[in-house]
């Protein structure tokens, strides 16, 4: 077994992978062709706004659960976490636990009641009993902000992946690929709407989980299906026993330890506030199906993260941390490199195509969410005050898709080289600060008022972004986005530990200081509707 490790490790270099670029592109092309056909077929009866935004609420719980897994298991989960475990060991594993446990917040507190009270967007729920205009505008702004951060992460992931697969280190080549991914995404969302996007996500979730399962069994087979042996091999190859213990990445100083608590908070509270996850709950006919969706999602996502544990340590054992960080694409290249070490060019091509598909499906989900939020909340309800037919709203949504697509292409080109898991963690921090307190308060706190919602959303969003801007992520270090400047004073990379409690506090303070009280009748109606599901969109009784 040991000789196999060494030979595999020496074979896997950037040079040997370069030659397989054409094969990878062919496999990816097949995926694009197949999904385009599916999207075209799915788009045939995209007529109304409910069709375009919520797939006619026609998906079943299991289908939607698979799509949620497809939406959620982003490039960060696959490339980022496998890479983080391979390089930072146990600390990488901690990411996946936060990402999973977070689903309990969605399951217990958010999914069903959201499905019962809203229509398309998060703002539908918040504006049920609070003042329409200010709350819709605030919710749309936070939605767009979270989608933007998340899109940046995915696009940066696409660039990193390509630099590995095609040996393109040049900025122009990578930028070209980001443009292609962005253009494809625009086509999918434009034609397919939520239905097409959902099918792409279902196909992708299946491919991703199947691909990870095959590699996991393969890695375990090489180590006699003994986890302890695998861990031992990882230590041997990397020459670093600390890879099995916590602390490699976050244990360096008191600041980095605190940073980790902050990250943990953002991960566990962010998921249930991600706009593209919330929107998926509207694609099913009832709250009960929303519950079933989350249950399916939890099983699929949990099992997938168990695979990434094996894959991460497998990459450390078969390739070694140094070879991974030295490869083009850096940390994010661990999973593709492992695929090459196991199954040569064909498996590498398959896994790379899956990773591409992952990015494509996630950016499609984010884009349709952002477009729905703009068209439904800002255009239809704020600008036109509800005086617009569904056709006009969908037309605006389609235009927004193109604009967001172009912005995310440009942003993705700018964000090349950033660690994807880390960028996603920032998106989670913004979601947990700007959205979660307001969602929870408006569902469970009778007295919650418009002023509380606005203070919490703007305060959470503002503090999270401000703290990021003055953190070492943006300036002051060699690894910062702007290494030449130094205006950082907030020591943590993740703002969650400050901004999340602050947003909860502001929501409370804004409410108790609010001179206006909200309608008790509306509150009663919302509570009754949220728990019973009476008159919820498409009230088909099962």
């Amino acid at each position: 077994m040991n000789s196999l490790h060494i030979s595999a490790a020496t074979e896997v270099t950037a040079e040997s992978i370069k030659d397989t670029g054409l094969l990878n592109m062919i496999i990816f092309g097949v995926f694009v062709a197949v999904t385009l056909v599916v999207v075209l077929r799915a788009s045939r009866n995209n007529k109304t706004a409910a069709d375009y935004y919520a797939a006619g609420r026609s998906f079943t719980g299991p289908q939607n659960g698979t799509a949620i897994a497809g939406d959620y298991l982003s490039a960060a989960s696959f490339l980022g976490i496998v890479g983080a475990i391979a390089v930072n060991g146990y600390d990488g594993f901690l990411y996946s636990i936060g990402f999973l446990v977070a689903w309990l917040v969605a399951l217990l507190l958010v999914a069903e009641m959201l499905r019962n009270t809203g229509k398309f967007t998060m703002a539908d729920v918040l504006s049920f009993r609070l003042k329409q205009r200010p709350v819709r505008i605030a919710a749309a702004i936070t939605t767009l902000a979270v989608c933007f951060f998340y899109l940046l992460a995915q696009m940066a992931g696409a660039g990193g992946l390509v630099s590995l697969l095609m040996g393109i280190d040049g900025k122009i080549g990578q930028s070209l690929v980001i443009t292609v991914v962005g253009a494809l995404m625009i086509i999918y969302v434009l034609i397919g709407g939520m239905k097409g996007t959902t099918w792409v996500q279902i196909i992708k979730a299946f491919l991703l989980i199947a691909g990870a399962a095959i590699m996991t069994v393969w890695v375990l087979a090489l180590h006699d299906f003994n986890l302890s042996d695998l861990l031992g091999a990882a230590v041997e190859t990397t020459g670093n026993p600390a890879i099995l213990d916590p602390g490699l990445q976050y244990g360096k100083s008191d600041t980095s330890k605190l940073d980790f608590v902050s990250l943990g908070l953002a991960l566990v509270l962010g998921t249930a506030a991600l706009p593209h996850v919330l929107m998926r709950f509207y694609t099913v006919p009832t709250a009960k199906e929303a519950r079933r969706s989350v249950v399916w999602a939890i099983w699929l996502i949990g099992i997938f993260y168990l695979f990434t544990l094996v894959l991460g340590y497998g990459a450390a054992a078969l390739i070694g941390s140094d070879a991974i960080t030295g490869a083009p694409g850096g940390v994010n290249s661990a999973a593709p490199l492992l695929a090459f070490a196991l199954g040569g060019p064909v498996l590498l091509g398959l896994i790379s195509a899956v990773a591409f598909a992952t990015i494509l499906a996630v950016v499609a989900g984010l884009t349709i969410t952002a477009a729905a939020s703009f068209a439904h909340d800002i255009y239809a309800n704020v600008i036109r005050k509800g005086q617009v037919d569904a056709d006009g709203e969908v037309k605006v949504a389609r235009t927004t898709v193109v604009v967001i697509g172009i912005i995310s292409i440009l942003g993705g080109i700018g964000a090349q080289g950033q660690n994807v898991a880390f960028l996603v963690a920032l998106a989670f921090a913004v979601a947990a600060s700007a959205n979660l307190p307001t969602i929870v308060y408006s569902l469970y706190w009778r007295k919650f008022s418009t002023q509380g919602a606005l203070w919490s959303m703007y305060g959470g969003l503002g503090s999270a972004i401000l703290l990021i801007a003055f953190s070492p992520v943006v300036s002051g270090l060699e690894t910062s986005m702007i290494p030449s400047a130094d205006f950082q004073w907030f020591p943590l990379n993740n703002p969650g530990i400050v901004s999340i409690p602050l947003a909860f506090f502001l929501g409370w303070l804004g409410t108790v200081l609010d001179k206006n009280t909200e309608s008790a009748i509306k509150q009663a109606e919302m509570e009754v509707r949220s728990l019973t599901g009476v008159g919820a969109e498409k009230a088909v009784d099962h």
Partner: protein, 123 residues
């Protein structure tokens, strides 16, 4: 698909007094059953998660203690987070199906019989 067509409010929802429904014993029972499960459970899993995060962050020695071969306390506690997440999920589904859904369905049928349809604001 057709459900998106504007629904005529022949029976206006204002005819139903939601505050009356809200204070009815059936609804209060449903609300109590939901809250008495989800709030304590949310506290349990959040405390357990943050206990784990703090141990991984500040108790490196304890987490690095080997248990079986190269498998240490940290890995076992991490895997237990997966187990508890799956367990809470199954417990909630079984609780909601048994204790919440029947009441919710009864109330929904009653209200829909009184002509309650979609809320006005979100049409």
């Amino acid at each position: 698909m057709a459900e998106e067509q504007p629904v005529s409010h022949a029976a206006h929802p204002d005819q139903v007094d939601f505050r009356e429904v809200q204070s009815s014993p059936e609804f209060q029972e449903l609300r109590k059953r939901q809250r008495s499960f989800i709030f304590p459970m949310a506290v349990v899993f959040l405390v357990w998660y943050f206990a784990y995060v703090l141990l991984a962050d500040y108790a490196h020695g304890f987490m690095s203690t080997p248990v079986i071969g190269n498998i240490n306390v940290g890995l076992i506690l991490g895997l237990l987070q997966f187990v508890s997440t799956f367990g809470i999920t199954m417990a909630y589904v079984s609780y909601a199906n048994r204790r919440m859904d029947p009441i919710a369905a009864d109330l929904r049928h009653d209200l829909e019989a009184h002509g309650v349809s979609r809320p006005e604001e979100t049409k």
